[in-house]
Every structure is written in C-alpha cells, then in structure tokens.
C-alpha cells in the first residue's frame, strides 16, 4: 500500500502548525468500525418534519440499543449525529424544517459526526412541488457533506412508502464506522423481507461468501471483513496469485480457489466449490478487476478487450451459474465493484470506465429484476474512489496526491472502507436495499 506521507505528516505537531498557517487541508483519522465498540459514541439528535414517522421509528430503535437519543438540539454540549426525517414534506416551503433542524447543530458536531437525511424517492411524489422538494434533499445533503469538517459525513436515505421498517440496517451502517469513507450518497430503501441477525456483532454468521480477486488489495480486505462478520469465505484469485491467496484464506479460516474469472466455466466452478465444500452460497462479490490505461487514441484491441473481459464480461458469464439454479440461495446477496471512473470517466481509462460504467448498468438491471426480487436476492454495487492499494500505488506521485485529497474527507480511503460497505450490502437485515450503487469515495469531486 502506498503510504500517505501527507496524511501522516499533518497529524504530527509540526505538521498541524504548517497546515493551519498556510490553509492546507487537515484530514482527521477516520472513525472505523469495530464489532465490539458501540455503533456511535455520544448524543444522536433524531427529529423531523410533521409527524415524522421514520424519526419515531428510528429513535425507538436507537434507544433500544442504549444510545443517547434526543429530539431537540441540546443548549450546550455536542452531538455526534443528526438524523432528520423529511419524508412527509410536500413543498419546497417544508425544506425550512431541514434547515431548522440541522443548521444549528453543525457548529457543535463532534469529529467523525454523521448527518443522515431521510426522504422519499422523488419519483413517487404526487405533485410537481413535492417532487421538487424531495429532489432538493439530494442537493442539500451533498452540500452539507462538503461543509462538514473533521471526518463528518452526510448521506441521504430515500425510503419507499410502506417500507419504513426496512431502514434499520442502513441507519446502523451510516451511524457506524462502516461508512467512514462514504459521504454525499443517496441510498434507496425499498421492499424486501429483512431478517435480523441473532448477533449484530456477527451479522453474517452461518453464511457462505465468495470473493473474487481476494489475494490482495480491496479483495483481501473484503474477505477479511466478511469473515470477521461471521461468513465462511471462498477466496478466489488467478492461479499465479495463489501464494498470497493461500495466506488470505488461511488467516480467515476460509478456502482458496485458484481460478481465472475469465475462464468459461469460472461461475460453475465457484458454485460447485461452494456447494460441495460449504453446502451452498449466500453472498457473491465480483471484485476482481484490472486496469490497462492508455489514451483511447492509443488503445489497441487487446487492451480494450482484456479490461472489458475481466471487469464486466466475466461477471455476465459467471452470473449465469451464480444466479442460476443451484447457485446463490434465495435471499442471497450479489455485490459488484464499480468505480468512480465509471461514473466520472477518466482520461486514459476509456476501457476501464466502459467496464465500470457497465457494472453500474448491470447492477441497476439485476437490482430491479422481478425474478431476483421475487427470490429475495439483492444486487448492489460499490464504486470506490481513491483507495490506497497496489492499484493506486502505480499512479504517479503528483496525480496520486491530487486523487487522494480531492474529496470532502481530504484523504484516500482504505480497502477496509470498501469492504465494510460490501459487508453491509451482504446482510439479510438489509434485504430492502437492491439496485443501489454506493460510492465509497469520501465524496470525491470526480463525477459528483
């Protein structure tokens, strides 16, 4: 992993002085998830517009977790999170409620604070004015994300009418350190039949997961986090990466399956392995990916094809077995790994951007596929921004430093940040979230 010289430097005494005197960005160490720590420390304000049904539901859930929940900003003392339920707004006039709830709290938020705005999907609005108001929530959330400092994040959750109780796993995720590097995102919660885990410290207990590209980088972190959350993990990577793969598998008590995801029978071999060794498959994460960067003007067919084949077409082929009969169990979870390059585009990455934008399209198609919805299978994607791995360590220093800082959190993310979002997508408690693409990018300016 490329070391973050700047990030480490500014956390030193001298560094802090230099940074504050010349106005350079000052990244904080982000609060990351631990199964043994409380979801969030400190006081959480939960309020809303009108009768705010979701605020009531969320407040009682958080109280049952023994969190300190208030419905009004305290006169003195700081807040660690603000949850504002705007689900009943009908007109842009009503947005004043949001301002009134959030604005007074911003100056006294603790570091690594959370702002969670709750709304309804604008498409379901019953009037143009309501749709305008609901759509405005996104703009406000993104602006708050950019206004927050010291590791604070702001995200918007759109809950479909009638599915209010499906929001719990998402609220937990957003308050916790799992979402440390996630800001400015819109998460849509819809229908589904969430199943609460017996133990929230091991939400994937008893599940079997397969992770491709697991020998290193983000894939290795995904394997570790899924195992930490209780899953039995099948770690897949190319045979040439077998020694690193074996270390990952042994460290988490999983199994190593050496195969190239572009092999025609890759999907079937994964399914067979999971079925014979572990009795089934509950979670599949398509993480394997490559870059072959060149300006489009200089990209030959081989570079074009290899990136599309590994990053996109192999997923289509493997899904035939994984989503077919005898593959992923009903109620299972499929997670894809896109990239902000697939959303923003990147000079010299036409092939990569094509593949990753394709992954977004595929996620949307599968996420709303009626047959998969009927089977209770969720399909979601993460779109990582700048994550500190061997892939990004190859970027020249100058460009790398820019990539690392051009986001609201002013630092690169860690592989574990991507993994935590994937682990959340993989929870049965999260059955109402499907077809979502969540960026794990610290609210990068690219493609925003």
């Amino acid at each position: 992993m490329a070391s973050d010289f700047y990030g480490d430097f500014v956390r030193t005494g001298l560094g802090k002085k230099v940074v504050s005197s010349v106005g350079l960005p000052s990244p904080v160490r982000l609060r990351r998830y631990s199964p043994t720590a409380p979801l969030i420390e400190g006081t959480v304000l939960v309020a809303g517009h009108g009768d705010a049904p979701l605020a009531a539901h969320i407040a009682s859930m958080l109280k049952s977790l023994h969190l300190e929940v208030v419905d009004e900003a305290p006169v003195s003392g700081s807040l660690s999170a603000v949850i504002a339920d705007l689900s009943t707004i009908e007109h842009p006039e009503d947005l004043e409620s949001l301002r009134a709830i959030v604005a007074p709290t911003l100056k006294s938020l603790r570091s690594n604070a959370r702002v969670v705005i709750i709304g309804r999907p604008p498409e379901a609005a019953t009037s143009p004015a309501q749709r305008a108001a609901l759509r405005a929530l996104e703009g406000i959330t993104r602006s708050i994300g950019k206004e927050l400092r010291r590791g604070g994040t702001a995200n918007l959750v759109l809950v479909a009418e009638g599915d209010d109780t499906n929001v719990d796993a998402t609220v937990r995720y957003l308050l916790s350190g799992r979402s440390a590097y996630v800001s400015g995102q819109v998460i849509v919660v819809g229908e589904g039949s969430p199943v609460e885990p017996g133990d929230w410290a091991r939400p994937l207990a008893g599940k079997v997961a397969v992770v491709t590209g697991a020998a290193r980088g983000i894939g290795a972190a995904i394997a570790e986090v899924l195992a930490r959350d209780g899953a039995t993990v099948v770690a897949v990577d190319i045979p040439a990466a077998g020694d690193a793969l074996a270390k990952v598998a042994n460290a988490i008590g999983g199994t190593a399956l050496q195969l190239d995801v572009t092999a025609p029978d890759a999907g079937q071999r994964i399914v067979d392995h999971a079925n014979t060794r572990h009795g089934g498959l509950d979670i599949a994460v398509h993480n394997a990916g490559i870059t072959r960067d060149k300006l489009l003007a200089n990209t030959d067919e081989t570079r074009w094809r290899s990136v599309l084949d590994v990053n996109l077409m192999s997923i289509l082929r493997m899904n035939e077995a994984i989503l077919g009969p005898g593959g992923l169990r009903d109620g299972g979870h499929l997670v894809l790994v896109a990239s902000i390059a697939g959303i923003a585009g990147n000079r010299g990455q036409s092939n990569y951007a094509a593949s990753k934008a394709g992954v977004v399209g595929l996620t949307q198609a599968l996420g709303s596929d009626p047959e998969l919805r009927r089977r209770g299978i969720t399909v979601n994607a993460v779109a990582p921004g700048f994550i500190e791995t061997e892939m990004t360590a190859k970027i020249p220093l100058g460009t790398r430093e820019v990539g690392r800082r051009l986001n609201s959190l002013q630092q690169g993310g860690l592989p574990v940040d991507v993994a935590e979002t994937i682990a959340w997508f993989s929870q049965d408690a999260n059955a109402g979230v499907s077809g979502n693409v969540v960026r794990v990018c610290g609210q990068s300016l690219l493609g925003a």
Partner: protein, 428 residues
Amino acid sequence: MATTPRRAAILGGNRIPFARQNGAYAKASNQDLLTATLDGLAARFGLAGTHLDEVVAGAVLKHSRDFNLTRESVLGSALSPTTPAYDIQQACGTGLEAAILVTNKIALGQVDSGIAGGVDSSSDAPIALNEDFRQTLLAANRAKTTGQKAKALTRFRPQQLLPSIPQNTEPRTGLSMGEHMAITAATWGITREAQDELAAASHQNLAAAYDRGFMDDLLTPYLGLTRDANLRADSTVEKLAKLKPVFGRGEGATMTAGNSTPLTDGASAVLLSSEEWASEHGLPPLAYFVDGQTAAVDYVSGEEGLLMAPAYAVPRLLARQGLSLQDFDYYEIHEAFAATVLVTLKAWEDAEFCKSRLGLDAPLGSIDRSKLNVNGSSLAAGHPFAATGGRIVASLAKMLHEKGTGSRGLISICAAGGQGVVAILEGA
C-alpha cells in the same frame, strides 16, 4: 477402531512449482518449502486451525538440525499445532512410502485423516565437515585438560577445511545414479532416439496440462515461481538430439541432460482420509489408495540394474490384486531418466526376464503408451527426490477422478539403493 480395513481416500494435493538447483528457491530451506506446501494445502481445503491425525513426510538431502522436519513444518503452518508428525526417508520413494504409511493407518482405523508429503532442496544441501576435521574436533572435545585439547587440535591441517558435499553416488559402488542407469540402458539396448522422444513428450504433456488449467488446483506458486522452472514447453526431439551425452561412454552413451532429470528443489503434499472424515468435511474423494508394494534388487554385485526394483515390485502387486498390467487407465512411471522408464517397460515385455527374474510363466506384456505419464513427469517437472511421490499421487488421483469411478492407475517409482515403491489407485 475398525475391525475390517477401511478404504483410504485421496482428497487432493498441493505442491509448489519445482525450481532448478540454485534457482528461485536457492535460499529457502526444506522447512520453508514444506511449510509453504502445507499452507497451500490448508488453504485449498480450508484446513486452517484444523487438527489432522498425522502428517508424514521426509527429505532425502537433510540437515542434522532437521531431525523433526515435518513436525517443525506443521508448527510453522496454518494447521492446528495438535497435529502430530514424523519424518521418514526412503530415497526417491519417500513421498509414495509416506502415502502408503498414512493410508495403511487409515485402513486400520488408527487415524482418520492425514497428510503424506516430501520435500527436497538440492540448493540448500547439508554440507558436512571434512571427515578428518570432524575427527580432530571430536578428539579435542573428548580431551579432558586444556593441554590435551590443544594437543588434539594440533592435528588440524588446512585441507581439512574442504567441506564434504553430499553426492548423488551410490556409496557401495562409487558410481553416480546416471552411470548406473547408463549401464542398464546399454544392456537393454535403449536408443537415444527413444529416450529423447519420451523426454519431449514429458515436456509437451506437462505444458499442455498447465495450459488447460489442470494444475490450477494442484499447485500453489512460491517465491515468484508459478510453473516448474525446468519445463520447456517448446521441447522437441530435434532440439534434444543436439545435446551431448553426459553419462556412459563411446557409442553407447545415450543419456543427456535433456533425457535425465536435473537437480531440483520443491515439495508436495497429499490430503488423505477415511470416507467418513471426507464426507464430514465436505471434501469429495478423488481416488482411493488401493495398495502399495516395495522391492529391492542386488545392484551391488552387478546382478541387476540400480533402478530396476519397480520392475519386480509391480508384478507382486498385480498378483496380490488379481490384475494384469493392461488393467490400467493411466501409468505413472517416474522418469528418473527416460531410460529408466523404457527399460522397465521393455523388461515387462521380455519373456526371458519375466521368467528368470520375476518367475512368471508369461511376460507382463506391453502397455498402451498413450496412457503413460499423460500430464508429464519428472523429466519436465523436475525431481526434488522426496517430493515426487506426492506430485504423482495428487495428479493421478485427479486424473482418475476425471476419468470416472473405478478407473485405475499404476504408480512406479525407483529409488537409490536399488529400491522401488509402487502403488495402485482407483478413481472415486
């Protein structure tokens, strides 16, 4: 404990790519190589933290400090530290003999699961003190007074600093294995062309096995090596014909570096268990270990060739199992030298040899050569002595599994000291 013998299943295997001497593994010890191999096996079969009833392995070239090589490797691996282990040594037969030992214990109900393996490094070979120097030091050590010690040490001579490096020669004949083989090859009239053909086929078959992904679940890369370093995918009879002979003399010198195995470093391991253990762990058997046999010949007097023992072991095994030499789908005859394989096959076809030496009424006959070493053998892969048995057992088990239930394979391995270890596997 089981009262009738149980079937011992072969669940799979792992090896690291074999390196050429002083190549990629130049600085790795036997323990490093074996530990990495056990870790790869543990990862493939999800055995991290798992207790196995026994791990049996060994090395031919072994440092005295490695008296507990296998147990130390287990302790350094991902396997549970409660897994017992012991070392064995039967020259190049070590790996297959280890499999016989573990499967016998499974059959008897003494263990339910185990690993058989082997490792050898020709690069990190033990170098002993010069024998004179060693005697000098021992004498000094035995001396009681400082004066006596000093006196004993005066026997030291600078030439005693020359170390004693282990050599691939038979202690009782002073001949290298290649020189022995050259004599046998000449006796049996094995041609240079036939040897080169066999060598080229070995390389081509192993290269094809890699290309179609056959090795994907048999191998785990190590220290940057992802394929056997000795493998020459573009090997042809024409290219091999250009090499100068290295063993034998004059007209009869047919053995070259191309049709003899080079010194190599590597390790292999095979996971074995009872059928119950296999199904409890969700690991489908690839094959069953049916039976094994050893034999030895009197090569010292020159009555028989050094590497001819498998020719004697196989008919005994066939007789016990009521099988003929033709009852097999695959034959794995270890290619110590191309000539070893060819002499063995020729001997089984020879009525006189079969009658006078093996005591058979009729020759064993010939085999379908298209069933021989179909995924390459030691000429291509290399031959880290004790690791060859595990390499063959794992890949043959996989081949038999692909072939189907009841398919049969024969393994034949020659070993130093005029010995041979052979075995029969059956597809599950």
